[in-house]
């Protein structure tokens, strides 16, 4: 399997050469189409990893490559979603979805001509996450879970090959969270995209990912890597099985050690 996202011996710090290290000697590679999860204690540099992989930050040492190319500018084939849905309150859900297309090339120059086609794409995407018929609503008319779904759609509208999720469900209640796990699971299965999920929820990581990386406390580095070979498609019931819980337990032990 060729690496799609490849970080080699990456060290990074904020605030120039004098700051503290956020990540140190970080090496990981994620295959094309793979679902990877990164877990770790809080403040371990998970978000730095996201910024490095999308080209918002460039490493102080080491190299980052995405899709075989060294990252030297923002990675436009990536879509991102965060814990906060960050939808624009003055735009309807549909208009929020079209925002990335107003920015990223080649869609930007084609938007006026192909608007109808793009609107259709947005409507389909909304329907696929269970938001059919909500496109004319404003974000504040949607519940938290619905806003998160819309935010996911915004991350996917330009059909990225890489989806980066930074604790996307942290602010949701447990039931909504599990619903959205299934939404993500299905999006990954149907679209064949590479997903990197940063989370502190171990059950979430085990349920969704093919491979899980455990990061140490700051400065972050990978201290363990665990393949999850639970058969797909996975249903929520597997979270109660022994094998599932065994993996969660194992990851937990790593994290407990990492915090010491």
């Amino acid at each position: 399997m060729t690496a799609f996202v490849d970080l080699a011996a990456v060290s990074h710090m904020y605030g120039g050469g004098s700051g503290t290290l956020a990540v140190d000697d970080l090496t990981l590679s994620i295959g094309r189409g793979e679902f990877a999860a990164v877990v770790g204690p809080s403040g371990c540099g998970k978000s730095t990893l996201m910024k490095l992989a999308t080209g918002l930050q460039f490493p102080f040492k080491g190299t980052v490559a995405v899709a075989g190319k060294k990252v030297s500018q923002p990675v436009k084939i990536a879509g991102m979603a965060f814990q906060a849905p960050t939808l624009l309150p003055w735009r309807t859900t549909l208009e929020n979805l079209l925002l990335p297309l107003e920015i990223v090339q080649p869609h930007r120059s084609e938007l006026r001509r192909k608007r109808k086609q793009y609107v259709e794409r947005a409507e389909n995407l909304l329907a696929s996450v269970g938001l059919g018929g909500q496109s004319e609503k404003y974000p504040w008319q949607l519940s938290g879970g619905m806003q998160m779904r819309a935010s996911l759609c915004r991350a996917l509208i330009h059909e990225p090959q890489l989806l980066m999720l930074d604790e996307p469900f942290g602010a949701l209640d447990a039931f909504t969270r599990e619903e959205l796990w299934c939404v993500i699971r299905d999006l990954h299965a149907t679209r064949q995209i590479t997903v990197v999920l940063v989370t502190h929820d171990l059950r979430e990581a085990v349920f969704l990912a093919d491979r899980i990386f455990v990061m140490s406390a700051r400065p972050g580095k990978i201290i363990a890597e665990r393949k999850v070979e639970l058969v797909r498609p996975r249903e929520l019931e597997i979270t109660f099985q022994n094998e599932f819980q065994g993996i969660v337990q194992e990851l937990r032990d790593h994290i407990v050690k990492a915090r010491q």
Binding site: T54, P74, W90, I103, Y138
Partner: protein
């Protein structure tokens, strides 16, 4: 938005105003306050009626200096706010200057303006401008400065330029702040023009009140105040309507309205 309000809530502004006037009138009679000290509302109304022509003319003068000064403040404030929000360096450079400038009481600037431009129209316009642009600048810059960093990341990762982020997010985002600041700014603009008129002008409500004071026509002074209050309320209301029209999305909460 108003049609569902209970009748008492809708009548409340009128009832409270009438109550204030009645209490005022009654106090003047009960405590036998002389008219040259505090005229009752009826005397003020009579002065308003007797002198309606000079009041009307001078009100128009004050209104025009205020509005021109305010318009300058809106243009300049918007521009400066955008520039400050755009660049951290410019922000760091200008902000202390702005604070220092804002700290100067504008009354103290009027003599200089008179020195440069003579008395009358121009100093009144400029004082209105100087006093009212600061809140506009600060509010526009605040709107720009409070863009969520996550959203900025999402857009930057798509290759958005700074101009893109400003156009798509920054400017729409700062509009509620901007329109909100107009309500403060228009009120301040009246303060500025009236200050300048009372110091250095032959026209305007400020000047009218000064002359009335010199002639001891106390009800006329109060009539001038009422004229200013009416102008201020009308302009404030106009700004509030504009704000609601332009940025209805930001005022979805029933809290402030209810």
């Amino acid at each position: 938005m108003n049609q569902r309000l209970p009748i008492m809530v809708r009548l409340a502004p009128w009832l409270f105003t009438i109550a204030l006037l009645v209490i005022w009138e009654a106090s003047v009679y009960i405590f036998k306050i002389p008219t040259f000290f505090l005229p009752p509302p009826t005397a003020v109304a009579k002065a308003f009626y007797d002198y309606w022509w000079p009041i009307y003319n001078n009100s128009l003068f004050t209104l025009s200096t205020t509005l021109i000064g305010f318009a300058l403040a809106v243009g300049f404030g918007l521009l400066l706010g955008l520039v400050i929000g755009w660049s951290r360096t410019i922000y760091a450079g200008i902000y202390p200057l702005m604070i220092g400038f804002n700290a100067i009481p504008k009354v103290a600037v009027v003599p200089i303006l008179v020195l440069w431009f003579g008395i009358g129209f121009v100093p009144a316009v400029l004082t209105a401008f100087l006093i009212s642009f600061f809140p506009i600048v600060v509010n526009v810059a605040t709107g720009l400065a409070t863009i969520e960093p996550e959203l900025e990341d999402v857009l930057k990762a798509l290759g958005a330029s700074k101009l893109d982020i400003m156009r798509k997010v920054g400017i729409p985002r700062s509009l509620p702040y901007f329109f909100g600041s107009l309500k403060v700014a228009i009120t301040l603009a009246f303060v500025g023009s009236v200050i300048s008129e009372s110091i250095a002008s032959n026209y305007g409500i400020g000047n009218l009140m000064l002359q009335a004071q010199a002639q001891f026509q106390v009800p006329l002074i109060f009539a001038g105040l009422v004229a200013l209050a009416i102008e201020g309320i009308v302009m404030y209301w106009a700004m509030a309507v504009l704000e609601r029209r332009m940025t209805g999305w930001a005022q979805r909460s029933g809290f402030a309205q209810g």
